[in-house]
Amino acid sequence: MRSLTRYITILLIVGILIGLLFYDKSFILAIFSQVLVFSIAALGLNILTGLTGQVSIGNAAFMSIGAYASTIFVMKLGIPMPIAIILAGTMASIFGLIIGFPSLRMKGFYLAITTMAFGVVIEQLISVIPYLGAHDGIRNITKLSNNEFISYLYVFLVYTILIVVTKQIQESPIGFSWKMVRDGETSATCFGINTGKAKLSAFMFSAFYGGIAGALYAHTIGYIRAADFGLSRSLDLLAMIMIGGLGSLQGGLAGSIIIVGLRFFFSRGFGPWLSVIIGSLLIIFTLFFSRGITWGITINWHKRLQVPFISVMKYFRLRRTKMSGKMIDIKDSSIFYVEKGSGKAVVFVHGNTGSSRWWNLVMDLSDDKENSYRTIALDLPNFGRSKSIKSAEIDTYADYLVEFIDRLSLEKPVIVGHSLGAAVVMSLSARYPDLPSAIVLVDGPSPAGLVTPPEHYPVIELYKTSRELMKKSLAAIAPGLNNDKILNDLTDDAMLMAPFAFTEHPKALERFNYMGKLKSYQGKVLIMWGKKDIIITEKMVDETLKQYNRAELVVFDDIGHSVMVEDPVLFKKSLLNFLRSI
């Protein structure tokens, strides 16, 4: 609710500011009003086509009905304008209901033809009725206000109200039923949705918005003709929502700015070019930007625009942070690691998109006065400051880890793995059962592997190029982490991961399979798991527990996927308890 108030406030302030900026340029304000009027009509069409999936090429007819109705109400019946406008919308919505009925029996082209036929019939009928001015239309219609600025404000207010109302409806059961109808009528029916009711209500809302837009059109322009609301107007509306993005509420405004703006740009003598351009825009957006301009900008922000910043950030970060630790050449890679203390070795292995930094808060194990520990956290190859290698297999990482332990001459270390790191430790424990003295698996996958649904890959693909999305995803796997600075640091480290590994790691985890091979490991195993983990389920933890001979489980109630950053104190306590028991 708070975000909604903020949204409305921002919208209103921006609108009024823009209006004030052009206060004395009434011509420009008139264009703005036009843009908003068509945004309202486009919003209406978006309800029908974008949200409910019913293509209409007759929506300009609703504008026509609204325009004529409001004009007659005000000029011939003397009804006050605000009431007249609402009545005009209501009248259009009755027509929407009427034309909605055929939609119950038709889909796709048949519906498109019907709506088109409806549009043409309305246009022709109005053109022959003398009471409505026949072909000549009606002139000198009462204006919203004689001051263009006030008119603009009125229109803007209506636009704001409608966009907010639509936002609310979209989230309501009605809006939900629309989307269900769009995504598949059969399944909608299975979910107990009355598809007929959903479609009819979409038609009525769509027509209501169209009617309001038409009424505002009449009272801002002051002159209407039936031909103003013909097939080409309906196609304009369709172009607007295609450009702005089907189903994107604010998208209609973007589309309207382009289409209405173009119309003024090509006002005299360039008319035919206008239709060529609008037609081409329709095709281009359908072929290449099927989700509209707003989506196009968003996706480009995540795909391309952040890339230069990320490369600069990577460069400096590598130089700066390499100072904080040591490097050691292992096989064809060079491995970065940090260490603290002396005594029994504890090796920390981070997870996917992780780095040694994830263990920063738990490196200091000197709380235990009786025992002393040497803690070592490394960046696996392909991660953080370590050199990239060609493979992203779990077993390969385990091999590097073995060699790393060997080169540092660590005697029987305790190895702690988080998430993908836990998988690496599992692989190590199965193939080199005598190497570790004990292992700790923090929110690790099941030995049967971890399947990432195929539809997640496009998003994972975006993590490579979007720091913002990466940060969001890390925040989701560490829900208890409230320190923004640490989150930023972890995000920057995540961006250092080798680009190919972003999609290779989930695939490697899918191939990962150590079912039945872990019994050879005789050491103790501690499994940690947070109940709020959105990746690892209780069932997977159970599987891991059963596959090892000597495994014990610690469950944290209020922790997600990453206990060592969410609650370092709790993590250390559990770890030290376990270390003492070995």
Binding site: L125, A134, P272
Partner: protein, 314 residues
Amino acid sequence: MFVKVLQSLIFGLFQGCLYGIMGFGLSLIFSTVGVMNFAHGNSGMIGVFVGWTVLFLTKNIFLAFLAAIISATILAIFIDKALMKRVKGLSHSAMLIITLGLLLIFEGLAVIIWGTQPLIFPEIFGFSPKIVFLPQSLNKSNIPLIIPGNDLAVFGTIMALLLLLIVFFKYSKPGLAVQARSEDEIGARVIGINTQATDTLSWIFGIATAVFAGLLIAPKTTVNPNMLTNLQFYGFTAAVFGGFSSIVGAMAGGLILGVIEKLVILGLDELFLLLHITSINAVDLQLSIVLLCIIVTLIVKPTGLFGNKYKGKV
């Protein structure tokens, strides 16, 4: 009265055959490719403009027809290969919106290249109208019955074309392939039909018939960017009547539509005369009547008047 009705019937049939041929192209494309081609009339219009230009330059009507049909073929291949192939399988709405875009582009291009001034297209056949007086027993008010020679020739030409099309689609191998593909795409592919080729062929036949209809009607409407807009609406209606299934269905739909339209106008004229309404001209409502026919047909029988029972996909 009998003569008036008979006259309407004759005019209706002569008009209706043009609706039918438009409807044929639309339903051919719809039943194979699956898109309702909203750019149908305007594609035809572009072809007619090309024909007019060639006629203007060479004064040879045969070359003009040839050029128009060739341009239709090029246009069809462009639409199919460059646009429709890309969105196939994306969604039906996407294909629909692309044809709407083409509708606007073709209209704009025609205005840019040829202008809005109506261009004269000469009569192709040059027959004079025949005036017939029916025997007194049938014709009390002694009104002559007019049989326009040119329209009759157009009617004959279209019927001949229809016959050729029927033969082509029923007996030739490519024709059978198109028909099989329109019945069942997977069925067609498993027996070895190249469905990409049949789709292209459908576009070519569809648009070529639209150009042909445009050329035949051009002497009456003149050549202008909106010359086929209304005819496209009639074509839709004819195709809807015909249930988008058979060649004969669309033509029958077109003929019925032509007759209904003329009879309704006749009826409205009489009605307005009776009610002393002078401000409304029945002809102005012509298109609305046709379009109401579509809406009513679709509501009552969504598969069309001659649609298949076992193929009720809407």
